[in-house]
């Protein structure tokens, strides 16, 4: 089960632009995938690029879930980015634009309900948060954007894509957050206490309302899914 919150930042509203954040998800009895891509604002077609990246990443991880769970981290990065870049190039050719105009960040989580394993992928300044009864954790930090973020079209971005394999453990929910969202969930470098409570209690609508009240400057999006374990017969 997933829940999505997304609002366009005042920066884009003032320019009469839509949100550059795009989410997608796909699931069956055993596997579930959620993805969030954030189009680069300075690109003319960041939104379109984010749509391709989000859709294709979800599709690839979902249909090849079994393989991706077994691949080494480097292979996950190389294969997924190669696939997305190929799709982006097709789109760029069709639109007669430079593929760089389709740049976006990429954040994805693949969950295996049978084994309770997670595969997390993060390229750029998105953040992945897990929530459990005992608190919150950040298994995938945003990259340091002081030297510029690597995005889907950056040469050798696969070397900077961070891939994590982990057990869900006690985590009950997982959140993918765009930079606009997590900046509002944190006060300076600390997660706000009220946010921690909402995540622990799985109050997703309240979390969305909270973000909306912050009147965010940047687009603000999160997608979350519950990390439930299915019984054997459900995926047999």
């Amino acid at each position: 089960m997933t829940y999505t919150f997304s609002t366009t930042g005042s920066h884009h509203l003032e320019r009469k632009e839509g949100s550059q954040d795009v989410v997608s998800h796909q699931e069956n009895a055993r596997y579930a995938v959620i993805t969030l891509a954030d189009g680069v604002s300075s690109c003319t077609n960041g939104r379109e690029g984010a749509e391709v990246a989000s859709r294709e990443m979800t599709r690839l991880l979902f249909h090849k879930a079994e393989h991706f769970m077994d691949f080494p981290e480097e292979t996950v990065a190389e294969l997924s980015l190669a696939h997305i870049r190929w799709e982006l190039q097709q789109k760029a050719d069709a639109m007669h634009i430079d593929v760089k105009e389709l740049s976006s960040t990429l954040c994805s989580a693949l969950y295996d309900r049978k084994t309770r394993k997670l595969l997390l992928v993060n390229l750029g300044d998105g953040m992945i948060i897990t929530g459990s009864k005992s608190g919150c954790a950040v298994p995938a930090m945003p990259s340091d954007s002081r030297n510029g973020c690597y995005v889907t079209t950056t040469p050798e971005a696969e070397k900077k894509m961070r891939v994590y394999k982990m057990d869900a453990g006690t985590a009950e929910t997982i959140y993918l957050c765009s930079d606009g969202a997590w900046h509002n969930l944190f006060e300076r470098s600390r997660m706000r206490q009220e946010v921690q409570t909402m995540i622990k209690m799985k109050r997703n609508k309240q979390l969305g309302d909270y973000l909306q009240k912050q009147d965010p400057f940047d687009d603000c999006t999160f997608i979350t899914m519950e990390l439930k374990k299915k019984s054997e017969r459900n995926y047999a």
Binding site: Q20, D38, G39, V40, S41, S42, S104, T105, G124, D125, M127, I129, G135, C136, A137, V138, M141, P142, D144, S145, R146, N147, G148, C149, V151, S178, D179, W182, F186, R188, S189, R190, M191, Q193, Q196, D218
Partner: protein
């Protein structure tokens, strides 16, 4: 998502230089490549070298027949082609750096970026001059730094930062009555800084009547002062702007590295470095002897107890005034207490590990001292840090005196960096027979002695450049040149010679610039000795970076950066050295 403007501009400048000099070949570049091709005949790398040569030829619109397998064919083909000589390229190099200057951020640019990011927009100060915005922040959130004080021997409290009375008086004269605190920050304006002009030196010291104004002015302009005063001011700045310091602790919920507010990244990596752009400021040039020529470049000194206290309170959930007071009190309480100057083994690595939760053997998940309770933290500092601010000095007649130093000047030595520096000079001497006094050719892409004579010709060729711009540029090149030249033996100690980064007498004098400059001479010597295959600027920049970064990182300095004009000019100079 966004990429911050200064970083993006610097990246694009480097890419432009790469593009321009990746294809700017001289006759000598071709001679080298043809020699490589001849050497490679019959070898497995022949096609690789040939492919490189063909790419170079394509720049001159020469397209040889494919699969010619001897170097002579290519040499004949190139003989009558009009390929520039090095002197022509040098003029272009001079221009290339000049044209890129506006792209490089000055210390003021970095300061403005921080203030833009950290200031509360609700305060509505964005349209004020930068130094006025900083002053207002110090008044409103830091209470004029009144909490920075010490107790005299007779028990009275003495303020360590002066200036409140002058600021209040200025506003009182402006509005006609004694102002409330709020009226001060609402009414103070840039005119207050006129008081600094003509003020006596004592009045400008931190405790002097214009202390706070001077601190704010220096922060805004990027002027770094001696005796640890700038570093202390940077911590005050970090506190009044509620900056963060990331260690990855989860004692109070998840913590994230926030690049926009992090003290280390913004104050110590971007701002407080040897930024040559300050030489374009007339005030800096006229009064440079009063300023610190070259900050260490190491950023946070983890061996210094006062810096640890500041970091500890920066992380606390307190108001700025509380943080300033508590930090001040703990620093004063610990001064001259404790273990008599004993230090832990392992230097910076050990001390940094204590903060970041890493044991000397590399084991992570060790408890960080930053999450200790205040009393525990104080006891820990007392036990493990040198807190001696009173230092015994014996003169040549054996007379003993005692000096009190700024706590932030304790444990300044950078032993790892100094060892690497000495090793570099030793390699130069033993492997390449280059002694320190021969490391004095300095800047290689301009003949500075001839620059003034060359001015007329240069300005005629480039009518869009004014004589003043050219003069400022020459001044910047001279400063860079003096930094990277070893001090000549027997010459008088003029100010400029004192700025040589190779004048390192002890681990206390060590700076990033010094190590990088020594590595520059070693790199050039290696290129020369090996008859290196590196030929164009892009290749050279990458090779230089791969060579120096491991050493810089081992010394806890930041790696080679395209954002730092010193770094870019150094590599450019290497490129010129190779082509001479």
């Amino acid at each position: 998502m966004e990429i911050r403007t200064i970083t993006r501009r610097a990246q694009s400048a480097l890419e432009d230089l790469n593009k321009e000099f990746g294809s700017l070949y001289t006759r000598r570049d071709f001679d080298h490549k043809l020699a490589d091709l001849k050497d490679a005949e019959g070898m497995t790398n022949y096609l690789e070298v040939l492919s490189e040569l063909e790419k170079m030829m394509a720049v001159f619109d020469i397209h040889p027949k494919k699969h010619m397998d001897n170097a002579k064919y290519y040499a004949d083909l190139l003989r009558d082609v009009d390929i520039p000589e090095y002197e022509e390229v040098r003029d272009k190099m001079l221009m290339a750096i000049f044209k890129k200057l506006p792209i490089y951020a000055s210390p003021q640019d970095y300061m403005k970026r921080m203030v833009d990011t950290l200031e509360d927009p609700k305060d509505g100060w964005r349209d004020d001059p930068l130094r006025v915005r900083i002053l207002k922040q110090f008044i409103k959130y830091g209470d004029y730094l009144q909490g920075i004080c010490h107790k005299n021997a007779n028990g009275t409290i003495a303020r360590d930062i002066g200036g409140k009375a002058q600021i209040v008086r200025y506003v009182q004269e402006k509005i006609g009555h004694r102002p409330t605190n709020q009226e001060v920050w609402e009414n103070v304006d840039d005119g207050i800084f006129a008081k600094l002009e003509g003020a006596a030196r004592d009045q400008l010291r931190p405790r002097g009547m214009f202390g706070l104004l001077k601190i704010v002015n220096d922060l805004a302009q990027g002027y770094f002062r001696m005796e640890g005063n700038t570093k202390r001011a940077l911590y005050y700045f970090a506190i009044v702007y509620n900056m963060t310091y990331y260690i990855g602790a989860d004692d109070n919920g998840p913590e994230v590295f926030d690049a926009k507010t992090d003290v280390d990244a913004n104050l110590f990596r971007d701002y407080y470095v040897n930024n040559l752009m300050r030489y374009l400021s007339p005030e800096y040039r006229s009064e440079r002897s009063r300023y610190q020529a070259d900050p260490s470049g190491q950023g946070i000194n983890y061996k210094n107890y006062a810096e640890m206290v500041y970091l500890y309170y920066i992380r606390k959930d307190l108001t700025a005034v509380e943080k300033l007071q508590k930090a001040n009190d703990m620093i004063n309480e610990l001064a001259d207490s404790g273990n008599g100057g004993r230090r832990l083994d392992g230097g910076t690595k050990t001390y940094r590990g204590l903060v970041h939760g890493v044991a000397p053997d590399g084991e992570t998940d060790v408890l960080t001292v930053m999450t200790l309770r205040e009393d525990e933290f104080k006891a820990f500092l007392k036990e493990c840090y040198d807190c001696c601010i009173t230092q015994q000095v014996t003169d040549k007649n054996g007379k003993v005196t005692y000096n009190t130093i700024n706590p932030i000047q304790i444990a300044l030595e950078q032993n790892t960096a100094y060892e690497l520096y000495k090793e570099t000079l030793q390699t130069l001497r033993e492997d390449y027979e280059i002694t320190l006094d021969k490391c004095n050719y300095g800047l290689m892409f301009a003949e500075l002695d001839e620059m003034h004579d060359y001015a007329d010709e240069f300005l005629e060729k480039h009518p869009d450049i004014t004589a003043k711009q050219f003069k400022d540029y020459t001044g910047l090149l001279e400063s860079f040149d003096s930094f990277i030249k070893a001090k000549a033996k027997g010459e008088n100690d003029s100010e400029e010679e004192n700025e040589s980064s190779l004048d390192v007498k002890s681990a206390n004098d060590m700076t990033r610039t010094s190590l990088l400059t020594a590595l520059y001479y070693l790199y050039n010597a290696m290129l020369e000795a090996n008859g290196s295959r590196w030929r164009n600027f892009k290749e050279l920049f990458e090779d230089f970076r791969d060579t120096v970064d491991p050493q810089l990182e081992e010394a806890y300095y930041q790696p080679l950066s395209a954002k730092n004009i010193f770094d870019v000019m150094l590599v450019f100079s290497s490129y010129a050295y190779m082509n001479l």
